[in-house]
Amino acid sequence: MTPHDAAIRHDSAPDLAAASGVRFTVNGASVAVVAPPLKRLAQVLRDDLGLTGTKVGCDAGDCGACTVLLDGRQVCACLTPLGQAEGRSVETVEGLAAGDGALSRLQQAFLAHGAAQCGACTPGMLVSATDLLRRCSAPSRQDVLDAIGGTLCRCTGYQKIVDAVLAAADAPAASASPPAGAAVGARVRRVDGVPRVDGTASYGADAVPADALWLRVVRSPHAHARFTVGDLTPLRQAHPGLVRVLCAGDVPFNGFGIYPDIKDQPVLADGLVRYRGEAVLALVGTREAVLRLRDDALPITWTPLPPIVDIDAARADGAALVQAAKPGNLLIDGGVRRGDMAAAFRQAAAVAEVVVETPFVEHAYIEPEAGWARRVDDRLEITVTTQTPYMDRDEVASVMRLQPTQVRIIPTACGGGFGGKLDQSVQPLVALAAWLLDRPVACVYTRPESMAATTKRHPAHIRARFAATAQGLLAGCEVDAAFDTGAYASWGPTVANRVPVHAMGPYGVPAVRTWGAAIFTHNPPSGAFRGFGVPQAAIAHEAAMDSLADQLGIDRLEFRHRNALRVGDATATGQVLTHSTGLAACLDALRPGWSRAHEAAARFNAEAQAQGTHRRRGVGIGCMWYGIGNTSMSNPSTMRVGLGRDGTLTLYSGAVDIGQGSNTIMTQIAADALGVEMNRFRLVAGDTDRTADAGKTSASRQTFVSGKAAELAGADLRRQILRLTNAGAEATLALDGAVLTVRDGGTVRRIDLAGLPVIAGDDVLVGVGTFDPPTTPLDADGQGVPYASYAFAAQMAEVEVDIELGTTRVLRIVAAHDVGRAINPMQVEGQIEGGIAQGLGLALMEEYLPGRTENLHDYLIPTAGDMPVIETILVEDRDPLGPSGAKGVGEPGLVPTAPAILGAIDHAVGVRLARVPVLPHRLLAALRGKEGR
């Protein structure tokens, strides 16, 4: 926290040099800052005063991440000119703890309640809440919502934040670390929690070296255009701070992409752009120079071409090709076929036909993409916010034509990912610039840039037909799902493969024909976003379930229960489920609340109708299943646990914690497997030079796959220790400094670790574990074992619709999830609550329109005030493959939410829209259409 040269501390002796600066206090200390008075206070705090706890999420007052107290009132530091701080008091997250570092009650409550996930909103949240708590010692829930309503969170669903603020008035709970062997299943605080609440956690934009050059990407204003770049010499002469302008010709191998055989996206476009926001040039120079240079001052000549705007245009006869080598603009398609479809529909007593249309959805993590690179001899080191350090390493190596061993990725704290940080953003650009210039080079995306340039959730057009027998059993289903994959492949193949496997829903269906296709358009690349297309497909299959149940006069929950996959059932891919198939148990858990909610809604509606008022309530249900890990592809994780000569235990984890809590989960699992308290562990996470590849943080795989590897690594180390001491399996381990004590019955053995030979680093013993879930490839009919484990869930939503305005308020959601085993129930709840917030956004408000909603005031995500009460019910049907029986939960939280909300709206007012989000004007139009008005 050293003040930068530009800032002069002004503690006791007045400094003449500071006379021209702006004087104010920061966290009680006097400062004088010499900087332009119009400079944003957020930037001053971060750059001039080194207080990077204040985050910048939008620079527009739309997210609240930069919230600070100005004379005791919360304001956005991105909207406050330095000049206005003159003579005033500024307080930041760094000032919330006591001088000795003791956390405030509020900070402790955030840790105790799991209120910080990725942590990017946490400083702003803490400051917003501090403003409230100083004025009001016993706030109501509504007071809390009003205080934090201007601060967005994308991870938590706000519930645990609100709980923490309400609890901050009480004495904090003690934070005891669980005893040896009892970490799994405990509501343990995050192992990396303290830096998230005291402002010291370092994110992509937080640790850029002072001497770094800055890189700004020049992006296409057109969805489809040819362009030429003129002579850049005059530009460089006019802007001495501009060191280099990079273009396509500078990139050694100018193509990247998720799949090894589809490197179709250029790092910098080569004369042709295929989407608005595509990277064209990279300006490298001093930060001032590259930020001051306006795009219209650059010698780029554009020739706009007609864009292909959507799936229909891309599939039209004679449509131009987005990618020359891809006829029909088809990236990939495939499906699952099983059973006798004609027979299924012949015997049907009810048939549901469903059409669903979903838009682009933006990840909207609070931390925009950021990072920096430096060249170290013939190697590159990239410090970056990412979900996937090992893929980054290999991709940068490929682009730079280096060996993967020549690239080191050092992940920073990741301020949210949700799939959006599984693709390349700043990585190849800063790598290229640092390599060529031999200087550190940094790049931080602006919010509009993050939204325009990076991947989105695939827009989907889904047609589904489901048939059921008179007994209420599903007989057949046909699903056709087309996805707008945008201009480049990204994760399009993953979505197109995963959806057909899931599109019939978590039900036994004898005849299945599902098809997924990814279609190129001149839109932003669609990539990975929590669920890989399954949330879109679930909207379709759950609409069909409601329709069939209604047609057959069967309760909607009961119909699902009757058809739920159970142990012994074969899935549509012919995989016989042998274990951990807890959907029926989830539905049973919902039953009591389901009945009560129906009765309450009926009473409410009867009264509303009698009184002629405008609110109607409804209850809906959504179910889902989700295959954990890659689809029919190897996705191994390797973890290591080292025991140092000084007695330090280190978990070397290549799994990146993007807020979901894998750092804590892995430590809990490894500690119990070894048989030592988890607070003995320190963590080395993500650094590709110091860890082993634990795959990407995606597909809900880290707990299941890397967690299993951590369990094996802990067990491996334990086995080595027991062997070394000739102890039996029941022996207990205790560490006291460098002395390891092993007690086996009455026998006690002590090892002086300092006396053992070093194996690696300072470690004298290293346990290693590797796990790759057993799957098989799918054949031409999509038959095989695509996943080793499936998560199941059912959620129930209660909504209230304003029939005159078309607005919908979600009152309550009960979420029953079969997670196998909750390693950390508090974190599992956090995943589910956060998933529900994103599912609510998908259902009711989120719609990304290229060129029109590239900010967080036109693109809306839920605020604290939009969230319902959430009750989570954990069903633990253990998976024998997973660590302690655990499966994944990252994506499942989101999948059933939108279907449940849409079903509840239908139940309330008898209208189901084919298109999400259900914006008020769309719902009102549908209501009026139904009335024939």
Binding site: L38, Q43, Q74, L291, T863, D866
Partner: protein, 285 residues
Amino acid sequence: MGLYLRPQTVEEAVAALAAHAPAVLAGGTDFYPARVGRAPDDDVLDITAIDGLRGIDDDGDYWRIGAATTWRDIIDAPLPPLLDGLKLAAREIGGAQIQNAGTVAGNLCNASPAADGVPALLALDAQVILQSATAARVLPLAKFIIGNRRTALRTGEIMTAILVPKRSSRAVGDFLKLGARRYLVISIAMVAGVMDVDDDGRITSAAIAVGACAEVARRLPALEQALLGRRADGALQDIVAEPQFAPLQPIDDVRGSAAYRLAAAATLTRRLLVTLSRKAAGPHA
């Protein structure tokens, strides 16, 4: 690097305006969002250090709201029910951070069609004081905002205050906002109203203004006329009729369709009349 001027008197401010024609900055809540991704280098006149420009004063016939008064100041001020609509609007502007920094005058001068402060002040028959180096003039708010982000502010002029004329002690105000989410949301439509009644509970004056449904927030004179002389009760909502909304010219945008905005404006207006009449009848009923 632009000029940054932060004078302490109105005289200095208008002199600086005449000399440099800078952008006027107060809460910064519209200034910075228009400059995302770059370091602002505009010439700026920051009016937040000017003595006496912030606060709400009882000026006899008027409530005088200083130009640099924040929305938080409005929320916290003890004001009569007449200004309830303005207070409710203040609570609906952005989130708490924006309310703490954003100013009433900034909201008017920015002249967004969706400015949350405008309908309430229009319904209050607010006037604005515009000061130049040579003269001051008073304009009705309805004549000040003349289009989408266009005002009658002349070069060299600064808004120094907003005047809200007082009415009888029975006068009440109210405000309803419709957005696609709670907090931090740009309005799809909003309605503000002011109502005054006589001893018999009959309406002696009514003002209804609708925002985000035209380039500029609009009053609804036909409806206001129809309300006069009627008893302030729940039956008022029945007199709301489509022709009264003729002044509105809503557009289709990402937040809603034009047709929806019209329908929503009518619905909000009906609801507003119910709550206004309830409030107006309140202590006297």
